[in-house]
Amino acid sequence: MSAALIPADALRPSRDDEAAWVAAACAGDATAFRRIVEQHHRSLYLMAARLVGDPVEAQDLVQESFAKAYLNLERFDSSYRLSTWLHRITLNTCRDYLKCSRRRERASTPELLEQVDDAPHPEQQLAAKITEQRVRAALGRLKPSYREVLVLKDLQGLSYEEIKRITGTPITALKIRAVRARAKLKDALGAER
């Protein structure tokens, strides 16, 4: 028996598939909308969790974003990628959340220690977790526009062209911002030591 890798593109729905789901969902077909959610929730959750630095809040923000999308699906312009539109809605939802100064701060250290206590190599796991927390804390201290470009470019792996479509920011400005954001992140990591 021979096996071959299936190209990732082959597993993705085509634009025609997505257009059919959108049309059906607009007509009130919740199953079609569910397909859209299944297709995009992972990427949107990843972005939200990294932008707000809180996995629990990220769940809520992604749910809220899909609710907004379903309410406004008739306004979706199918000449654009559905993923771009959904990322844009989620980004705006996360921005609104981050503007709220009264959001609850979560203490993560006790949870962290609990997680690594039973790990096979607790010392290595703890060191990795501490590094991870330092990076997350440094990322969280960046101004929102810097954090956004690092999340979308370096963590989500999107192209500048895709980020431009999501944020509406010109590519040149995004590149300048990426350079500055990386320098600020390195400074913040240095200050953490």
């Binding site: 010109p170 590149k175 350079v179």
Partner: protein, 215 residues
């Protein structure tokens, strides 16, 4: 090209194998390039160490449930009742609508609708004009103006904006076809060439003006 921009291209994967090798060789001799490269790499590598959080297994169900409930609770859409208008009022309203449509042509910037087609450099608006987007990094600047052939080189006429407050000034010009030399004027006194301009022209005083060409 600046060392910073070269380092960015390296970490963003925009160089081929020979470009990367050349940059690494240059970094051995150029401390500034080496520093920019180390900074960019340190940040990108630190971010790469972050694990990708997995969404909870019930997220799809929760998201669909909330969306369906929200949609079911949406009030039925009705056209608002039109106020009674006199003939003159109706004509004025129709005129205002036409002006609004004319002003909004080519723009689709609804908050949730599809993203607007923003032109990065030159975007056609109509047969006789083009939109030109200018971007200039000027951290710490109080003001950035653009002066050129299109405004008689006035340094107090067209000011760019810094919407994010991060020192990146942007602005959009609407220009008819032609060739336009221009410079940025920082804080009303420092004239600088657009660092991202593709075309340049000698200004006769030892400096280079940037040049926009719109066909």
């Amino acid at each position: 090209m600046s060392p910073r921009e070269r380092a960015r291209r390296f970490v963003d994967g925009e160089l081929d194998a020979s470009g990367r090798a050349a940059l690494l060789a240059d970094a051995e001799r150029d401390p500034k390039l080496a520093e920019e490269l180390a900074t960019a790499r340190a940040a990108v590598e630190a971010l790469a160490a972050l694990p990708a959080p997995e969404p909870p297994p019930d997220l799809v169900n929760r998201a669909v449930l909330r969306a369906v409930q929200r949609r079911a609770a949406r009030p039925e859409r009705r056209w608002p009742a039109l106020p009674r208008l006199s003939l003159a009022g109706a004509l004025l309203a129709a005129g205002a609508l036409l002006v609004g449509l004319w002003a909004a042509r080519g723009e689709r910037d609804a908050p949730i609708a599809a993203p607007p087609p923003i032109a990065e450099s030159v975007g056609r608006m109509e047969a006789s004009e083009a939109l030109v987007r200018l971007v200039v990094p000027a951290e710490g600047a109080r003001s950035v103006a653009v002066a050129g052939d299109f405004n008689e080189w006035r340094a107090d006429d067209i000011f760019l904006e810094d919407p994010e407050g991060d020192g990146v000034f942007v602005g959009t010009l609407r220009l008819p076809p032609g060739s336009y030399a221009y410079m940025f004027v920082i804080d009303g006194e420092r004239w600088v060439t657009d660092p991202y301009a593709v075309n340049h022209r000698d200004d006769g005083f030892g400096n280079q003006n940037a040049v926009l060409r719109i066909d």
